[in-house]
């Protein structure tokens, strides 16, 4: 059997994330269309959207600073860097020992910070409003993410993602209360980070409800394409992060080529199922009032904390 080089696997992962993230969003949109009785635009529609945006010209405000021009590239490159760290098809990654899960969260937080700055940069009312909402949501989500991740790290005895995935993948699947609670908290986090429905609606430009869309309202052309592609990758990466932390069974541990092919296949199935779950939640509940979010995200934090406590108490 042919062994693949870790460098090659790492490059492969980046390519997979770049290529599959739009398909994943297309899958979400397709399921959503079906669930609402509409005919969908197909799996590849996000590609067409991105391609269309790339050929369009950029309209830049006169008072746009370097932050506004720099942010799209940052928002695009952060998920690319993250896809080097998260074990998506194999735990045998070149750079996984250099960065752990906390660095990963900090990377995403940096991207979010710059998006908020860019939202305020032009000085329109919508950008500032979106930025302020985004920061409020971030301040409530990040404790929940970190608590969930600490619980996983405690159970996996490391903060390195590849190590955690390896430990869980080689253990027997068993319902551990701490991991179940952490997984529920993480599911909420995926909805929030992806800007999905109870928190934010990705398909609306209604001024009273938009959060992420409000921040990037001034972007156009290839800048918008990069941001859109970046946020698609962000959703996809959070889902794969959830897979790596909570259901890593089937992931390749070596560079064996058949094992990697199999692991890729499992990954597609798992991500597809999680996508269906996201759509189920989205069609099932209405968008929450902004000030109800404190309770929703407080609930996620509570879940993650209960997970951590039950790790100490019950295990």
């Amino acid at each position: 059997m042919k062994e693949l080089n870790p460098i090659f696997i790492t490059v492969l992962q980046v390519v997979i994330v770049l290529a599959i993230a739009p398909v994943f969003i297309g899958w979400l949109n397709m399921l959503k269309c079906w669930s609402q009785g509409r005919s969908s635009a197909g799996l590849l529609q996000p590609y067409r959207d991105i391609a269309k945006l790339f050929v369009k010209d950029i309209v830049l405000a006169k008072n746009a600073s370097w932050i506004f021009r720099f942010t799209p590239y940052l928002v695009f490159s952060v998920p690319v860097v993250a896809s080097v760290i998260i074990p998506i098809i194999s735990t045998n990654l070149l750079l996984s020992p250099t960065a752990d899960i906390i660095v990963l969260i900090a990377l995403f937080a940096t991207a979010r910070f710059f998006t908020a700055l860019a939202g305020m940069d032009i000085g329109t009312a919508f950008g500032g409003m979106g930025a302020s909402r985004e920061m409020m949501i971030a301040s409530l989500t990040e404790p929940a993410i970190l608590m969930a991740i600490f619980t996983v790290s405690l159970a996996g005895k490391s903060t390195s993602l590849a190590h955690i995935a390896q430990v869980f993948a080689s253990s027997v699947p068993i319902m551990r209360p701490s991991l179940v609670f952490a997984a529920i908290a993480f599911a909420v986090v995926i909805l929030v980070e992806g800007g999905r429905i109870p928190v934010d609606n990705p398909s609306t430009h209604l001024e009273l409800t938009m959060v992420h869309e409000a921040m990037i309202l001034e972007y156009s052309g290839r800048h918008l394409a990069l941001i859109e592609w970046g946020s698609m990758m962000r959703v996809f990466l959070f889902v794969t992060l959830g897979v790596a932390c909570f259901v890593p069974w089937g992931i390749a541990k070596t560079g064996n080529i058949t094992e990697i092919a199999l692991s890729f296949f499992f990954m597609i199935i798992k991500v597809g199922i999680i996508g269906a779950g996201i759509v189920f939640v989205e069609t099932g509940i209405a968008k929450m009032r902004l000030f109800r979010l404190t309770e929703f995200l407080g609930g996620a934090f509570l879940m993650a904390t209960l997970g951590m406590l039950s790790f100490f108490i019950l295990e």
Binding site: P177, T294, G299, L302, T305, S310, I313
Partner: protein, 221 residues
Amino acid sequence: MSLKILEQVNSFLAALVLLTAFAMLAQRRINALIHVFMWQGLFLSISTAIVGFIANKHHLYLSSVLTLSLKVIVLPYILHVLIVRLKIRKEVETIVNIPMTMLLGIGLVIFSYHLTRPIMELSTFITRSTLSVALATVMIGLLMMITRKKAITQVIGFLAMENGLFLAATSATYGMPFVVELGVALDVLIAAFIFGIFLFHINTTFDSLDVNQMARLKEDI
């Protein structure tokens, strides 16, 4: 089934009991609160049956059935009849806001963990780790009684406390003697009836179930 898996299932059920205790703290609607109480009773009764199987104590099966019939069927039914008769449709009113009570609840879990750790080290039972969950459930029930304005939510808090005590008894000593358990169960049933009558009287006297109104009972001198 191996003992190890049953033990795992039991601790998972204990975690679910704790979760329902928190869900009760978070509930704003009184109907939903009673539903959560039902779930807690169900988890408790399954957990009791499993402990009975692990420890090979047959009277625990009986008390499991008792819990099931009393806390999942009879008490929620009584509470339901009460809220229909008293025409309570309003949301749960709290003294401290809900996220704050949740944080207090987390604090109570940590506190009860520290309190029961020495006991857990001494005990040799398989179920010893659920003792701190049981204590936490008792404390969260107490917290619910303190932070709610309406008498009926306080009654549910009291019943949740009793659930916690029951879990403590099964996890710390594999259950109380059956006579005692029967007595406690009857006590709770009678208490629910008395509470019902009591609530009717509060409601007819004050036109509200808000316990703050009871300050009016003082005679003016």
